[in-house]
Every structure is written in C-alpha cells, then in structure tokens.
Subunit: 284 residues, 2 copies
Amino acid sequence: MKQITSVAEMQAEARQLLKRDVTIGLVPTMGALHEGHLSLIRKAAEENDEVVVSIFVNPIQFNDSKDLDNYPRTLEEDLALAEDAGATIVFTPEAEHMYHSDNETMVQVTRLTNHLCGIARGSGHFIGVCTVVAKLFNIVHPDVAYFGQKDAQQALVIQRMVRDLNFPLKVEICPIIREKDGLAMSSRNKRLTDEQREEALALFGALELGKELIESGEKNSLTVINQMCEHILAHGDIEIDYMNIVSTETLDDVETIDEMVLLAGAVFVGDVRLIDNMLVDPAC
Amino acid sequence: MKQITSVAEMQAEARQLLKRDVTIGLVPTMGALHEGHLSLIRKAAEENDEVVVSIFVNPIQFNDSKDLDNYPRTLEEDLALAEDAGATIVFTPEAEHMYHSDNETMVQVTRLTNHLCGIARGSGHFIGVCTVVAKLFNIVHPDVAYFGQKDAQQALVIQRMVRDLNFPLKVEICPIIREKDGLAMSSRNKRLTDEQREEALALFGALELGKELIESGEKNSLTVINQMCEHILAHGDIEIDYMNIVSTETLDDVETIDEMVLLAGAVFVGDVRLIDNMLVDPAC
C-alpha cells in the first residue's frame, strides 16, 4: 500500500491509473477507522483494481470547533487497518494543502440539505461535505465512491451532487455496520465513557421500537416519533437533537406512513453527538 | 468533426480519449461564434490533440429572460466555423439533458463574484456560470480550458473555481479580439442596429481615454472614471451599467492607481448589454 500526502502527486497517480484503464474505488473517510469503514474498503477492493482510502478530517464541515478538536485521530492504526482491508493507496493530505487561505469556492446542494443534520448542524455542514468530496473526486478520479448508510443524508446529498454536476462516477451506499448490541459504529463512539456507551444504545432501541410500531400498522408519524423520543429519554441522560420520519427520496417529513420511510435520529450523549437511522417498509 | 448531443456519449468519448493519452482542449461557448471564439479554438487546436467546442446557451446564468430569448442562435453557421478553426468535436447538449427538473446543486465562488457583473447581473449569474462550467469539465475532461479576456471577471472566477475544487486542468485566458474600429467582438453585437453599432464604440473609446489618462500620470480612479463616463454619455444614447477601476487579482475597487489595474465597463445600448475591459499599467 502506498501513502500519498501531496494533492498533486495523488492527481498525477490517478491520471496514470486512468491511462492504464484501471478502475479506482474511493472510500472517503475522516480516519479513526472502524468496521463500518472497513466494510466499505472491502467492498471497494472486491469491485475495483485500485482502492484509494482518503483520510482527512475536513475542517470546513465542522460547525463546532470543539467537535473538530476532539475528533479522534489514529493514523498509524488506520494505515494498518486500511491496508488489511484491501486499500492500495491511502491519501492523507494536510489541511493547508487542501484549502488555500483565500479559498472561496463552495458546492451546495440546496433542498436535500434543508432537513435533519442540515438544519441541526447549520447549512455550512453540508457545504463543507460537498465541497471536500467534490475536491476528492477531482483529485482521485474514482469510478466508484463508497459511502455508508449510517450517514444517510450525506449519501443522498452526494448522490445528488454527482448527478447534478455530472461527475463521471457511481456512488455506492453500503449498509450500516453495528456493534453486537446494535449500536451503529461511529468514530465518535471512542469518546463515550462506559456509562455513556450503555446510554447511547437508546438511539438504536428507539429506531427498533419505531420499526415495530410501523410494521404493526401504526401510520401516524407523530405517534411513532413520540414513542421513540420517550424511549430515549427513559433510557439515559440523553439530549435529543432531532428524531424524524422522512421520505427516502426527498427527506421531507412524512405525516402518514404509506410507503418506505427513513427513521432518522441524532442525540447528544454528554457532548458526543451520535446519529443513526433505519429504513422501514410498512408493507413488511 | 464529430457532433455530440448526448451528455453520456460525450463523457464516454472523453474517457476513451483519456485512456489513449490524448490531450483535450475545451472551448466553452454559447454559440453565435465570432472571431473571439475562433481565436480560442485555433489556440486550442495548436496546443491539443483534440478540441471540443461546447455550444450551449446556459439558461441558469441569465438574470433576464428577454436576454435569454434574444440571445443569437446560429448553429449551422457555428458548426462550419468551429470545424474550420480546428474543432474536432462539437458538443451541443439540450437544456433538458443538462439540467434535471429537480436540479439543486450549485457551485459558487463567493468573493470574486461580489463585484462588477456579479453585482450588476445579480449573484445568480456567476452561480450559473460556475455550475455549468463545472458540469462541462466533468463531462469533457479537458486538459486545458480556454476563456476570453473579454469576460475578464468570468475568466478569473473560473480560474479560482478550478484552483479551489482541484479540477485537473489548466485555464488559459486569451486576448480580447476587436473589430477594426475597436469594438470588442461579442455575440450580442449582432443585435445592434447600425446607429447603435456606432454608439457602442463609445465604451471602447472610454477605455482608451482611461488608459491615456493613467499612462499620463493620473492616479485618482474617480477622476478617470468620471472622464470615462462623460465620454460615453457624450457619444450616444447609452446607459452605463457600471464603470470601475479594480484590482486585477481581487477585483476590489482601486482608489489610487499605483500598479496594473483593470478598467471594466458595462453599458446598455438600447436593450443590448455590452461589456469591455482593458488592463492598464501606470508604469507604461
């Protein structure tokens, strides 16, 4: 596995690979790799000749500078894990090489971001995500880019950006990977104390409860949301950031559940923000 | 010369060319080709194996729907001119293939657009320009993209976008091509009556006057701008949209002229909006 830190070198390497008609899979990450990331890297390795894993904690997508400072950084471990999972190139640029001091270009997806984390974290979050991903696409030139369903809104937003700006690549969205007890894998889980780790499970529990209610015939979103929120508040000292039932295509709130919906929640356990979601089909 | 109308076909063609290690020059146009465009195409033909000329009247960059409706469309002539100048591919997509009805992604350069045409035409204009050019870059995959100095602000904005989003290409800015009497070539010139054609020359005359004043030692921008505006108003029934002396790098207004500046003006001759500009170095 090769480690590349220079943007120009990565771009030149991608150009060489393109000429050789080699297919490139890209797994964009912010590091602190866990089984969720590794599942994306393994998928990319199955489907492509070369697998580029980018590790870059993107400053412009953080609305909260404490969250940025506290974001776990475990590069040595990440390199070993990425290689083991099938990465052939790890791209680890420095922030000062990714952004000029007078950087002034941004990519914005307007409607899909006006929901869920786009509201909770402010409009700058997804502008930051889209801008860095557009940059990574132009630097790495992947045939396929892999994103996790854990960040369901992010995956949809990137798919829309790729379609609207004609990026010549396919976005693949891969399933959420969970701990044995159901907690969605997240780099931020490392920051939880043992007690918080127990409490955090309430988010998954709430989604499971919502799924049960809908599959047993409950069609009223508000009823389901109320019960999910109650479940969370009864199971720990957790602050609910949002808990919504939305359309899987537009992310608009759904009032009456007649078809597949996305249950999406965000909570603060202490100062650690966690998100999770579940696709639920009332016909099941 | 090949004509391609499908986005997917153009993208596949570009991919094939990349694999063959062929260099691609792109000249993005809105058609109604004149000597200005042809000079870009010839330059591109000198410097690249393949020259793609895109012809697309981009609806989202027009702030004025009458201007969009009246924009000259001369496709048959354009095809002959482009081929003659050295184009190997003409890309002529339909608007409904370039934009999905639920298109919602935009690319914005924030500071450089907050001047000149970015104010006069509203912020949507350059969002429209950047978005369509980003799309064209992703579809055509040029090594070099050619823009005219006539649209000085546009050229700077695109250069900034390319740098900030790491598009793997070079932007070349080519000199303004003028009629014998000095009028800057523009597709919109076709819409001028004979009388308006005479009046339109006042814009070039004003820039020449400004250049003379600065080269003879005038350092006060306001003095120069006032004389340029007086020149225009004395030479015809013209409405001045803006007339500014700005930094060549930031486009900020310059008060005291100590180094190279850009004189930039926009006028309405009847309902036809014309722009022109001149780089002036006080040291000359």
